[in-house]
Point group: C2
Chain length 274, copies 2
Amino acid sequence: MPDPPRDVLHYPSIHRTFLEPHLPPKTPSTASPYPFTTLTFATSLDSQLALSPGAPTALSGPESKAMTHYLRSRHDAILIGVGTAVADNPSLNCRIEGVGGYGGEGLEGQPRPIVLDPRARWEVNGETKVLKLAREGRGKAPFIITTKGAEVGGKREVLEGCGGKFIEIDTGGERKLGWRDILRALKEEGLNSVMIEGGAGVINELMSPENAELVSFVIVTIAPTWLGKGGVVVLPDRRNDSCGKPIAAARLDGVKWYPLGEDVVLCGKMKLDG
Amino acid sequence: MPDPPRDVLHYPSIHRTFLEPHLPPKTPSTASPYPFTTLTFATSLDSQLALSPGAPTALSGPESKAMTHYLRSRHDAILIGVGTAVADNPSLNCRIEGVGGYGGEGLEGQPRPIVLDPRARWEVNGETKVLKLAREGRGKAPFIITTKGAEVGGKREVLEGCGGKFIEIDTGGERKLGWRDILRALKEEGLNSVMIEGGAGVINELMSPENAELVSFVIVTIAPTWLGKGGVVVLPDRRNDSCGKPIAAARLDGVKWYPLGEDVVLCGKMKLDG
C-alpha cells in the first residue's frame, strides 16, 4: 500500500457520531426511485458561499473541511452544477485517510463526481483537476449529465478515456433538467446516495417547495464571518400563502446543531407542507 | 407584591451560564467613555430579520425569545433605530420573571429604551406601546436621541409626561449621528451598558470597520429557517483589501456556539484589523 499523499485529511471519530443519523443507510432503499439525497454546503453568517463566483473563499475551518470529505466518503456520488465546475475547477474527490488513493485500496470510499451540465458547456481537458485525479488513481472520473442531444463534441473521448461518461436525459425539448429526472438517472446508474454540494443555483432550486421532498437531509456548515454585499448567496425564492402574504421560504425539522471548531454544523430535514 | 402578568417569561439558569462571560461586568468600567455595548439580533439562515419591514416574523423559538429578555435584564439600556420603532411599535421592556412589573419591585431590572431618531420622526402618542408600558409600571420610558435642533414639537411633552426625554446631539450640521457620539451620550446619562437590537441599518453600520471596536460582544440567534428573497437583511458593506480585492466584511473571534431549542446562539467579539 503506498504512503498516503501529504494532503490527506483526518476526521476524528468523536465528531462522526452526531452525523450518523443523517447519513445514507448501509443497505440502500429499493422502494424509492431516487437515491438518498444529502444537500450540503458551507456559508457565512450572511448566507454566502463565496465572495464572488470562482473566488477561493476561506470560510470554514479545518475541522469542517475534513467533515465535508468524511461525508463524501459516505456517499456513492457527489453532485455540483456546471457553474461551480467552471468557476472553481474543483477536485471533487475524497481525501480522508484510508480511502482509495489516500492510504486505502483501489478507489474504495471515493464518490462518483457528477456535474450537472444541461448544455455541455464544461470544458474537460488536461487542466481539469477531477480528470487529473482520476488518472492518478485518487478519485473517480466524473459523469456529466446533459440534456439529450447536447453537443459534446470531442469531450466524450476525453471523458471516456479516463473512465467517465456523459449521461443524457431526454427533456422533450426543455432546456432545463428536472430534479426527479436527474436523481432517477443516478439511481439507474447504481448510485444509491448522492451529496449535492452546490453552487447557489442548485441549492436554491432544491429548497423550493417543488423539490424539497427529494432531499433526505440538509447539512449546513456556518462560519462566524460576514462576507458582505455582493457575494454568492444561498437565498431561496420568496413564497406567499394563499392570500398572497409572504411566508418563510423553507424550514428545517428535527434540527441538530453541532459546534465544530469555530463553525457550527446544522443537520435537519426539509419541512414539507401539509 | 402584585402577581406577575400572564406574559411573563422564564429563562432557566442552566442556559444563563454560557452567556455570563459575554455580559456587562457588575462594576462598570470608568476608563472608557463608552458603555459596554452588546450587539444582538436574531436572523434566519439567510441572514434576515423579517419577511418585510414591520411584518411580525416568528423566527426564533420560545427559548431564544426568553434569552433576549434575560439579556435585556442585564443591560442598563436597549437601543433600536427609528425604522424599527416605526415599523414594529415594539414593547422594549423586559418580561423576565422577577424584574420590576413582572413580580419584582419598582422598575428593577428594566432597561432604559433608547430610540435613535436623528430627525425626530417617530410619532409618540397614545398607541405607542413603550409609553403605555411605562405608564403601567412595566417598563421605563424611552429616551429619544436626535440631532441638535430637530423639530420635536408636542412630542416633548408627551415623552416627558411619562418620564422619558429627548437627548440632543450636536452634529455640527451633519444629518447623521456618529456612533461614538451616541454611545458617549448614553454613558453621560449614567447608562453603563447598552444592548443594541437593530434594525438592519443599525446592525450593518456597527459591523463596519469604523465602528466594530465600539462593540464589546456580538450575540446572534439563528433560526433553522430560510425566509427567502425580499426580506430585511443583515448584510454589511463589502470590503476590499489594499489591492482592491474583496475580503470578508467582518469576522468574530473567541466564538462560542450554544444550541438553544431549535435555534443556535453565537457569541463572539468583532475581530479588529491590525
